[in-house]
């Protein structure tokens, strides 16, 4: 028996498609190009559920080379159905990944596989795929900047295109040697010398 979910995105692609799940595995088909992304049951290792911009994401971990696939656009109500299908067909538990919506710009960074995750109160705020980092810089010991690959031409400037993040800067005071004894006076006017 096959169960179908309509209006699902694959990764960050702007194209909608249909997502199907059956005992043999999962498949996503692009509505426009009819391109198919198929994942056979033997490849499926784990599954996660998290809130992203385009509603909810099903993330599937694959055996091959620690790869994974993201499918966005699921609705809150799909969680239970999906969880039981994954359990029934693949014997996989749909784990819930907590996401922060506090609106804070401080937290902790954590390397998770191929991503640099930013956590706020121990919940994921976002992930930066490291293979998309084109350049990184460290300035003044406490500032780290990451620049991302962007398309060179504005050709794909369709009306539906999302905004491209080109750079993010972090302030990382923890990399600086801390003087736990006397903090009065040492905070202002920090010198560069060690």
């Amino acid at each position: 028996m096959t169960t179908q979910f309509d209006s699902i995105y694959h990764g960050l692609s702007p194209h909608l498609g249909k997502f199907r799940i059956a005992a043999s595995g999962m498949a996503w088909m692009n509505n426009e190009t009819k391109e198919v992304v198929a994942t056979p049951v033997a490849e499926i290792k784990w599954a996660q559920w998290m809130r992203v911009a385009r509603n909810f994401r099903l993330r599937v971990g694959l055996k091959e080379g620690r790869r994974r696939e993201d499918f966005d656009g699921f609705l809150r109500d799909d969680q239970e159905k999906l969880a039981s299908l994954l359990k029934q067909h693949f014997g996989v538990i749909l784990e819930v990944k907590d996401v922060s919506f506090k609106g804070w710009n401080w937290g902790a960074t954590d390397f998770q596989g191929q991503d640099l995750a930013f956590l706020v109160s121990n919940k994921t705020s976002f992930e930066l795929p490291l293979q998309n980092v084109a350049n990184s810089n460290i300035a003044g010991k406490t500032e780290v900047s990451l620049e991302f690959n962007t398309s060179a031409s504005p050709s794909k400037s369709s009306k539906h295109a999302g905004d491209e993040m080109v750079e993010i800067r972090f302030f990382v005071p923890g990399t600086h040697t801390k003087d736990s004894g006397s903090d009065a006076g040492s905070k202002d006017g920090e010198k560069d010398g060690e």
């Binding site: 990764g11 960050l12 809130r51 992203v52 911009a53 385009r54 509603n55 994401r57 993201d70 966005d72 809150r76 996401v99 919506f101 506090k102 609106g103 804070w104 710009n105 401080w106 937290g107 902790a108 960074t109 930013f118 994921t124 705020s125 976002f126 992930e127 930066l128 795929p129 998309n132 406490t142 500032e143 962007t150 504005p154 400037s157 539906h160 295109a161 999302g162 905004d163 491209e164 993040m165 080109v166 750079e167 993010i168 800067r169 972090f170 302030f171 990382v172 005071p173 923890g174 801390k178 905070k187 202002d188 006017g189 920090e190």
Partner: protein
């Protein structure tokens, strides 16, 4: 625990209690200003990342060829060298996002977003100022 380190005078703020608070517009994967929640929502590789206006310092915008760049700067410790910090922080030793820069070919929309952020910041700052004066 960071409780002991919690900066004096830091006032708790929060954009949303949970995911259900996010506005529909985040689906577009574009920078969105949610005035009601006093929050700017950033699209970051598929995630919708709210940042409360209190944590935002300012925004700037510039045009380069076909693109418009929007940069948003955030409040972080260590930015006022030699000056007394007037913004308290919950956890000054945490890692902070200091800035993000976005690119778009839709300069008109970025112009609007820039104005919305700047106005919201002005509004909230003014209100805080008034509250302070009332308290004095």
């Amino acid at each position: 625990g960071t409780g002991a380190k919690e900066g004096k005078g830091w006032k708790r703020f929060q954009s949303y209690k949970g995911e259900a608070g996010l506005p529909r517009e985040v689906e577009n994967l574009r920078v969105f200003v949610d005035r009601k929640a006093q929050t700017v929502i950033l699209p970051v590789h598929g995630f919708a990342v709210p940042i409360h206006i209190t944590a935002i310092k300012n925004a700037s915008k510039n045009d380069e060829g076909d693109f418009t760049f929007l940069r948003i700067n955030f409040q972080t410790p260590g930015q006022l060298a030699g000056k007394k910090e007037d913004t308290p922080f919950e956890d000054p030793d945490a890692t902070f996002i200091r800035s993000v820069t976005y690119r778009s070919t839709d300069g008109h929309r970025f112009d609007n977003v820039y104005k919305q952020i700047t106005e919201l910041k002005k509004e909230v700052t003014k209100r805080e100022q008034q509250k302070k004066e009332m308290a004095d």
